[in-house]
Symmetry: C2
Subunit: 204 residues, 2 copies
């Protein structure tokens, strides 16, 4: 079993949530689109119960906006002022994470991160930008989780999701892979200041 990466086991609800996030990121669900519980339940072959849980979760993440007795819809673009604030806060969280990670990354961690970058490269070559975005997020998620566990991920995640809503298009593409490689290289060297600089450059 040595060297075998544990496959991530996701609950049904987490999978549904992930799918809806993808749809929003991909633009299949445009801002202000209203979500119908019954439709979603039929689409995923479930009852409305779990769907409602997912909607609540995505609402807390800021992707959806819900009103009592009126249902949920895809949230719209952030006010620029708030957007700027969120970028700032997200940067601070990620810088904090990198500082915590000094001399904490194991060989296994590095290997995992390398493989995430490989996947990123592949997705980019396939022009699968929705997947690029998701893998991009998972790279950061790995660092955040390693540094602060679920607790830190929980406060970090809404910023990422909310920011994605505003772009909805990957900026350049190749740049994305390179930027993350710089981060990982700096981490491998234990060069916190370089890693911090690279993270700041990546979050925009």
């Amino acid at each position: 079993m040595a060297g075998v990466r544990a496959p991530k086991i996701l609950s049904v609800k987490d999978q549904i949530a992930e799918q809806i996030r993808s749809d929003i990121i991909a633009g299949d669900l445009a801002p202000n689109t209203k979500l119908n519980e019954k439709e979603l339940a039929e689409r995923f072959g479930l009852s409305r119960g779990p769907i409602r849980d997912v909607i609540l979760q995505l609402t807390k993440e800021g992707l959806l906006i819900s009103k009592n007795n009126c249902g949920a819809s895809v949230n719209s673009i952030l006010d620029p002022k708030l957007q700027k604030l969120m970028i700032k806060l997200r940067r601070e969280i990620e810088v904090f994470a990198i500082e915590q990670l000094k001399d904490k990354l194991t060989a296994n961690d590095v290997a995992d991160l390398e493989s995430i970058l490989d996947e990123l490269q592949e997705a980019f070559e396939r022009n699968d930008y929705t997947e690029v975005t998701k893998i991009d997020i998972s790279f950061h998620n790995y660092l955040i989780h390693k540094a602060g566990g679920d607790e830190l991920v929980n406060i970090w995640y809404p910023y990422v999701m909310r920011m994605r809503l505003n772009y909805k298009r990957i900026t350049t593409g190749e740049e994305c892979v390179n930027e993350h490689r710089v981060i990982l290289d700096a981490l491998k060297d234990g060069d916190i200041s370089a890693a911090t600089k690279a993270i700041k450059a990546n979050i925009k």
Copy 2:
């Protein structure tokens, strides 16, 4: 109807959530206490459905921690490093809010805030520290909401809740009322720099 403050209409779920938050803040629900859905449902005279929604919500707020098929329990004290980070981030959010509020507070707003401070004073005189904490939060909530709406409240709230878990005792008491009065006075004068300083001093 002039001068009549709108009574806040809360959904059933919001009321339950508020009650459980109070119990946690008051210490009636100690960290690591396991929450039983059936028990809660009976206590509030509801079925398990809405209770589950509330648990999910409080989990996202960081007050509870949930595991698949294992239920939810009251979250425990934060790691000091994370605690420090959260204080820093919360401060930045509140400073941002104050900057946005310059020349935006109406006479009505000021009156509302004054009356919140009055309630704070009363609760303090009754030695009702759970209520003091809740009113304290509502003062800040008013400012945050006015500055950034639900959007900003959503990212701010988890910090407050998470921090409260760590104290669970009001520090001095009278200090609390005074600190908030300083903030409000500075806001009334439009003295952003003083208000910022006061907010920073209050968040610790």
